[in-house]
């Protein structure tokens, strides 16, 4: 059982890390603010989500697992809001940033 869990962890965390890598490359290489935001949100959503998912089997208690999920949810919330704000700023002032 623990072997299955470990494999799940390794797969999910690796996939998450891959998304982080891709997102970072996107942040650096994409041409303008909006497309960069697009790359970033993928990191927040999927990358962190997969890492949290992968870590869940390794947790020792339910409380700890709940904390991990909370971390993901909070990042989701702040990420979504900040993306909205930046996108709004771009629309108002033009994409010079």
């Amino acid at each position: 059982m623990s072997l299955v869990m470990d494999i799940l962890t390794i797969c999910a965390v690796s996939a998450g890390a891959l998304f982080f890598l891709a997102g970072t490359v996107g942040l650096l290489r994409f041409p303008d603010t909006l497309t960069r935001l697009h790359a970033l949100t993928k990191v927040d959503n999927l990358g962190l989500g997969l890492i949290v998912l992968g870590l869940l089997p390794q947790t020792s208690s339910v409380l700890f697992a709940v904390k991990l999920v909370f971390v993901w949810l909070l990042v989701q919330l702040s990420g979504a809001v900040v993306t909205q704000l930046i996108a709004g700023a771009v629309r108002h002032h033009g994409a010079d940033g």
Binding site: S78, V81, G88
Partner: protein
Amino acid sequence: MSIASVFDVALVALILTIGASAILVRTAFAAVVMFVVYGLLLSMAWVRLHAVDVALTEAAIGGGMTGLLLLGAVARSRSVNVDSVRVGYPLRLAAGALCALVAAGLAVAIFYPPAPVPTLAPMVMENLPPSGLGNPVAGVLFVFRALDTLLEKVVLLLALLGVWSLAPDHAWGGTPGLQVYARPDPTLIFLAQLLPPVGIVFGIYMCWVGAKDPGGAFQGGTVLAAMWLLVIVAGLQKAPAIGRLWLRVLLVTGPVLFLAIGLAGWVFADAFLAYPAGYAKPLIVAVEAALTLSIAVALGMLAAGPPVRAQQQ
């Protein structure tokens, strides 16, 4: 090399790169962004150094709050043409040599630790149980070196008064200028309505858990301050006028309680800042709770800056 040391080397390399670029990049805005990233990386370093308390403080205050202040300042300051006032090349070379010398001196000092490394950890653990605290860092802050902690609260108050003192005379007693950024943005308002309840619970939890696990008044207070600032920036609530009595009372509640308990120790435990046997933990928790509130208000007002508008009566 183990995975951990590869991680450490990579982390150090990243910290140094980002740190150096925060100094060297051309625009102030980019520098501040680099600095915020740097603060987060640094708190990882603190975790690696087994100092979770410090990691939390560094992330909350060193990276977060300082970053917020710097970002606000960059946004408000007029753009400065950097090249016109650039320091001359020979001088930079000399400064570079001096700084390299200092860094090298420190490196040498680090490289040769004393043969038995002196430590107070056993002594702290030995003397911690009577206080009822489980977190040794909290023990040092509130039991063994309580005087430092008390004085540091006064430092915070003085810094706040110092910031306020930079207001124009007519604005004294008025409200800080934080609303300058406030745009009635529906998304931000949404966040400011949703997050604070969670954040407040989290801040109180941080303060409460500080007695036995990493966390404490500073970390909890910073989270509360951040929530408060969010609400103000979103325009849901106005920054309070600095002359308000409730604000002043909140600011001093923590230090006053701390001082009062310290003085009570004089009577009941025969030394200033000593806790009577058996009552240490509840007293410390009470002090921490009051301090959390005072720190939250002080940090929030420090970040909000000096008053700019006279209070409307």
